[in-house]
């Protein structure tokens, strides 16, 4: 898809997002007391204005890209999407959700080591020994700093506890 066409659809998407925020999210998500005498002091005033600004900017972006598309003779070529890259991104997204779900049960240190290993598996490396060493030592060093120097209670998990 050409850059101008992409901008047009970004603009449309932003208009939809801004309108949805103003028409649905703000009325549903912002609690305004009934006794607000001055409208501009209402808790919903600022989010409403900003949501409409977002929608307006989206509209300007869409119109701007339409105007530019007419003026330019840019050929509209579709760039091939690397499928393997997309699969890796999907794996990373699933991994990040799993991390948030299990990090406290597994322990932040062990979960971080797993996260390190997952990224390594996804990207590959020709420095395997260095990578394994860093994957083990870095979370342990960070644990030592945050738990023992900064007194941050790092979650230990249910399996292996660190001193």
């Amino acid at each position: 898809m050409s850059a101008l066409r992409t901008d047009f659809w970004i603009g449309i998407g932003v208009v939809v997002l801004g309108s949805a925020l103003a028409l649905v999210a703000v009325p549903e998500g912002v609690v305004s007391p009934r006794n607000v005498r001055i409208a501009v002091l209402s808790p919903a005033f600022w989010p409403n204005i900003l949501a409409w600004v977002v929608a307006l900017m989206g509209l300007i972006l869409a119109l701007q890209s339409l105007r530019r598309r007419k003026a330019s003779e840019e050929p509209e070529t579709a760039a091939p999407m690397p499928r393997r890259g997309l699969l890796r991104l999907l794996a990373l997204a699933v991994g990040s959700i799993a991390f948030c779900a299990f990090a406290t049960k597994l322990g932040l240190v062990w979960a971080s080591m797993v996260a390190f290993a997952v990224v390594l598996l996804l990207t590959g490396t020709s420095y395997r020994i260095a990578a394994v060493a860093v994957a083990i030592l870095l979370p342990l060093a960070l644990y030592a700093f945050f738990a023992h120097v900064a007194a941050v209670p790092i979650p230990q998990g249910m399996f292996v506890r660190l001193p």
Partner: protein
């Protein structure tokens, strides 16, 4: 507290080995991070921030300022040795630095870059000391309407950090402002987009948003397109920058430093334009103007003086008015807040000793940069060889621990991941992240000053034009908008 009392208290605060240690450590971390292609000074400051939580405020902020200054200089090392600017501010340095390296004069180029950076940094710090107090004493008379107009004016910096498309920058900024409304309403105490979740009642954590936006997209991008880059670094060569070189470039360094100071004090301009303007001025005034772009040492000196002259000056609006001069100082504002300090005119009243301690630390940082920079130049080969396949997951682990440590909750880590994916999407769609962050930081200040002013006036908007200060800021905003619109029209005309 008198000036002398404050200065003495500031000296007592900074005259500890810890201050010097953390400042030197910050400069070292910054130079190393700036020298690694793929780690920007912004990312380095963001990743260092969580390590300052347990430090005394003065040590924590000195550490971050050291990273900032070191990072800007560090960017010049790969710019000269491998033609890859470590930071955008070092782009102009490649023009003459790399041709010098190709001629076998990398050491000479790096030497003059270091001298120019240290001199410019010192001049910039002195300007900060001279101007910030004066500006802060003027800003003490500001009330909510004046602050509202000031913050509105400072939002025009978005034009400077929007990159190719101002409209996309405005979309990002409005989204950042909107995201900042999450949490309990400050006037009525009612829910705003928190849907009863206690994790959201205090709003989204600044560090989680910051790290997610600026560090994670790099990692996600690397996972999408893994590539191991091997750079061919040039040898330093036998020649180092001599006193004669410094004398020859001195005029350009001083001129570039003041250009940096002037542009740095204006919110939103940043180091790269200062470096290019300084370079262009040096070329215009130099007897060797024909050599520029072919390996002229004065070109390297001018560029580095321009971008380092910005460093101290961006702290002028930060310390005196509480508004960020660029993205890095926007992060440093967050650091001040985490340590219970609110940058702005009141800081000079309530924590004047802290301000003077920072001034002294900043002066010291210019000299530390000279020492640390000299060593870093020689050690660059090892820094450039850090494989990205090991660096990317390491940064991810740093992000996780750093974000968790803020509130000891995995919810913040989830916010960081969400912001990382949002940042990646924005990058793919060429929507800049810097306006988003600036909107997120300035949003609460803008809304609070607006609502306080409206409470004061009983809802009358006349309060926003109540005196010469508000008029001045309205005029400055109008002027900034005029230039933005003129720039837009110019680019539209060029396209059609």
């Amino acid at each position: 507290m008198s000036f002398l009392d404050s200065a003495a208290a500031g000296f007592a605060l900074v005259a500890h080995w810890e201050s010097i240690f953390y400042l030197a450590m910050g400069v070292l971390v910054g130079v190393v991070a700036g020298a690694i292609p793929g780690i920007s000074a912004t990312m380095a400051v963001a990743l260092t921030l969580p390590f300052t939580f347990t430090l005394e405020p003065i040590y924590g902020i000195l550490l971050l300022l050291g990273v900032y200054k070191g990072g800007i200089f560090g960017g010049s090392i790969p710019a000269i040795l491998i033609k890859t600017p470590g930071t955008p501010a070092s782009s102009a340095t490649t023009l003459d630095g790399y041709p010098m390296a190709e001629r076998g004069e990398a050491g000479r180029a790096l030497g003059i870059a270091l001298y120019a950076s240290c001199i410019a940094d010192l001049i910039s710090n002195l300007s900060l000391i001279l101007l910030a107090g004066w500006l802060a004493s003027f800003a003490l008379s500001f009330g909510p309407p004046e602050f509202f107009t000031l913050i509105l004016f400072s939002l025009t910096i978005i034009a400077g950090v929007s990159g190719e498309s101002l409209v996309k920058g405005l979309i990002a900024a409005a989204s950042g402002l909107l995201l900042a409304t999450i949490g309990l309403d400050l006037v009525y105490g009612t829910d705003r987009f928190s849907f009863g979740d206690p994790n959201l009642m205090g709003g989204l954590n600044f560090i989680a948003v910051l790290i997610g936006l600026f560090a994670l997209p790099e990692i996600i991008d690397f996972v999408f397109k893994p590539r191991e880059e091997h750079h061919q670094a040039r040898q330093l060569g036998g020649r180092w920058a001599s006193f004669a070189d410094l004398r020859r470039c001195f005029k350009s360094i001083i001129r570039g430093s003041f250009i940096g100071v002037f542009l740095g004090a204006i919110p939103g301009i940043g180091g790269a334009p200062a470096a290019f303007l300084s370079y262009a001025e040096a070329q215009r005034n130099s007897p060797n103007r024909d050599n520029f772009g072919k390996g002229e040492i004065e070109g390297v000196a001018a560029s580095e003086a321009g971008n380092n002259g910005v460093c101290g000056a961006t702290l002028i609006p930060l310390l005196s008015l509480g508004i960020p001069g660029d993205v890095i100082t926007a992060i440093i504002i967050g650091a001040f807040m985490i340590h219970g300090l609110q940058p702005g005119p009141m800081l000079f009243v309530t924590h004047s000793h802290m301000v003077y301690a920072l001034f002294m630390g900043l002066i010291l940082s210019s000299f530390l940069l000279l020492g640390v920079g000299s060593v870093a130049i020689r050690a660059f080969r090892f820094v450039a060889d850090v494989p990205k396949s090991v660096l990317a997951p390491s940064v991810l682990v740093l992000c996780i621990f750093g974000t968790y440590a803020v509130n000891n909750t995995i919810f913040d880590v989830a916010v960081m991941f969400a912001m990382g994916w949002l940042g990646y999407l924005m990058r793919q769609l060429k929507i800049p992240a810097a306006p988003f962050l600036i909107g997120f930081i300035l949003g609460p200040l803008l809304e609070n000053s607006f609502r306080q002013a409206m409470l004061m006036s009983g809802g009358s908007p006349e309060i926003f034009v109540r005196g010469p200060i508000t008029w001045t800021f309205w005029a400055l905003t109008a002027l900034a908008l005029y230039f933005i619109i003129a720039r837009l029209r110019q680019s539209w005309r060029a396209e059609t």
